[in-house]
């Protein structure tokens, strides 16, 4: 069994309790010959290979959702919490860069970020620490696919307060105001989504909870609304829209909102992955996700060619059935090595041609 993958998966690391896995990964990268490895200021595991001026950051996450699962291998498949989301992709980054070794003029930074499943504290920290030339984010998308887009998110709680009144008074109750607002929002989203066949381009609302209570003075109703945003609507624009529909309700923003992000597909980085997948017998495809990843946090700041790559089936994310074929894992490592080699060659050739001109 692959030592990096099994070692990571064996160290249960739900968000907030990543340290044992982080310490182990730092040691593992040191043992694999990384130029340096350390725990950064946010508690992320960082491994650096080489010291060149052209930098590639490979950002995975080391935390998982809670819910420990027995780690076992059966017929070439590894089971365990996080093996798909997203220790498989992170371990593949670690093994691929170890296989690549130091390359003159280049620096590869592998990061196992903490807290991705909550507020992305790890990614927000590294967003300010690096300015890479290229970025690869680790999430499961199958070895033949390159993910180019993740939707944004903006969560909010809307609180409606009304003075207590007699039910015969015909005054609108707090619950009625909340229900009316949800109906308006739902109608707005349906209208916005008309003619947009891709879920990636749609405004997706989820009413996660409704709570209400009252005392002898006032009534209160609370809506908890999660929104998955398309690229055309930023979190700030959405919160302004909520304000318009919510009337006098108090709007409380929850968690960290992030905008959707779409990667440019005609870049040397994407081309390098397409060529690598084809060279190893695959048929590449692009994928756009309805979820959110650390890509949404770092890409708007780094603004460099980026993509999301990693082995595994994201339909298994957060489930009790998380598992990863070791054959697919090894294939992904091979693709990463091949793609990064392509990227280096393309960049160096282009520089030589520019110099010659």
């Amino acid at each position: 069994m692959n030592e990096t993958l099994s070692g990571l998966v064996s160290r249960y690391s739900p968000s907030g309790s990543e340290k044992p896995a982080v310490d182990w990964l730092v040691g593992r990268m040191q043992a694999l010959g990384y130029t340096q490895s350390f725990v950064d200021g946010a508690g992320n595991a960082v491994g650096v290979m080489g010291c060149g001026s052209r930098q590639v950051v490979l950002l995975g996450h080391i935390d998982t959702v809670p819910g420990e699962l027995p780690v076992r291998e059966d017929k070439g498949v590894l089971y365990g919490r996080g093996v798909v989301d997203a220790k498989g992709p992170l371990a593949a980054f670690v093994d691929a860069i170890a296989a690549l070794g130091e390359i003159e003029g280049w620096q590869f930074v592998v990061i196992g970020a903490v807290d991705e499943e909550r507020d992305s504290c790890g990614a927000r920290f590294v967003a300010a620490q690096y300015r890479p030339d290229f970025a690869v984010i680790g999430e499961p998308n199958h070895w033949q696919r390159v993910a180019l887009g993740y939707k944004g998110v903006a969560w909010a709680e809307l609180t409606f307060l009304r003075a207590q009144s007699h039910s015969a008074s015909r005054n609108q109750t707090a619950c009625e105001s909340a229900f009316e607002t949800w109906s308006l929002l739902h109608g707005y989203a349906c209208q916005y989504n008309a003619g947009k066949p891709r879920a990636f381009d749609q405004l997706l609302l989820t009413l996660r909870a409704i709570r209400s209570d009252e005392n002898h003075l006032r009534q209160r109703a609370i809506l908890q609304i999660d929104t998955r945003l398309p690229p055309a609507i930023t979190p700030e624009q959405w919160y302004e829209q909520l304000r318009i529909f919510a009337g006098d309700a108090e709007i409380t923003r929850q968690s960290y909102a992030v905008p959707a992000w779409t990667c440019e597909k005609n870049t040397p980085l994407v081309r390098s992955f397409l060529a690598a997948i084809r060279a190893h017998g695959g048929t590449p495809s692009f994928v756009y996700k309805t979820g959110t990843a650390d890509l949404n946090t770092v890409a708007p700041i780094w603004r460099c060619p980026a993509l999301v790559y990693g082995p595994g089936d994201s339909a298994l994310d957060h489930t009790q059935d998380e598992c990863l074929s070791l054959e697919e894992y090894q294939k992904a490592v091979t693709i990463l090595v091949s793609a990064l080699t392509n990227l280096i060659n393309r960049t160096e050739n282009k520089l030589q041609n520019t110099t010659a001109d």
């Binding site: 989301d85 499943e117 999430e139 499961p140 998308n141 696919r145 390159v146 993910a147 891709r198 879920a199 990636f200 597909k265 005609n266 040397p268 994407v270 081309r271 390098s272 992955f273 397409l274 060529a275 084809r278 048929t283 590449p284 495809s285 692009f286 994928v287 756009y288 996700k289 309805t290 979820g291 959110t292 990843a293 994201s314 339909a315 994310d317 957060h318 392509n342 393309r346």
Partner: protein
């Protein structure tokens, strides 16, 4: 100059200098996206399919 034929409409497309393997080009006749899969000899394939998926 490398010339390829569109896989959809057979239009002749001249690849510009500096074209790279893996580059996505657009057929000027039918508008389909094509991926340059080889330069010597010049070859194109239909560009990767675009899919949607649930997942973080």
């Amino acid at each position: 100059m490398n010339t390829v034929n569109c896989t959809e409409c057979d239009a002749a497309i001249t690849l510009s200098t500096g074209t790279e393997v893996g580059e996505i080009i657009v057929c000027p006749d039918c508008g389909v996206d094509l991926e340059v899969t080889s330069l010597d000899p010049a070859q194109v394939s239909p560009a990767p399919m675009e899919q949607e998926d649930w997942g973080e």
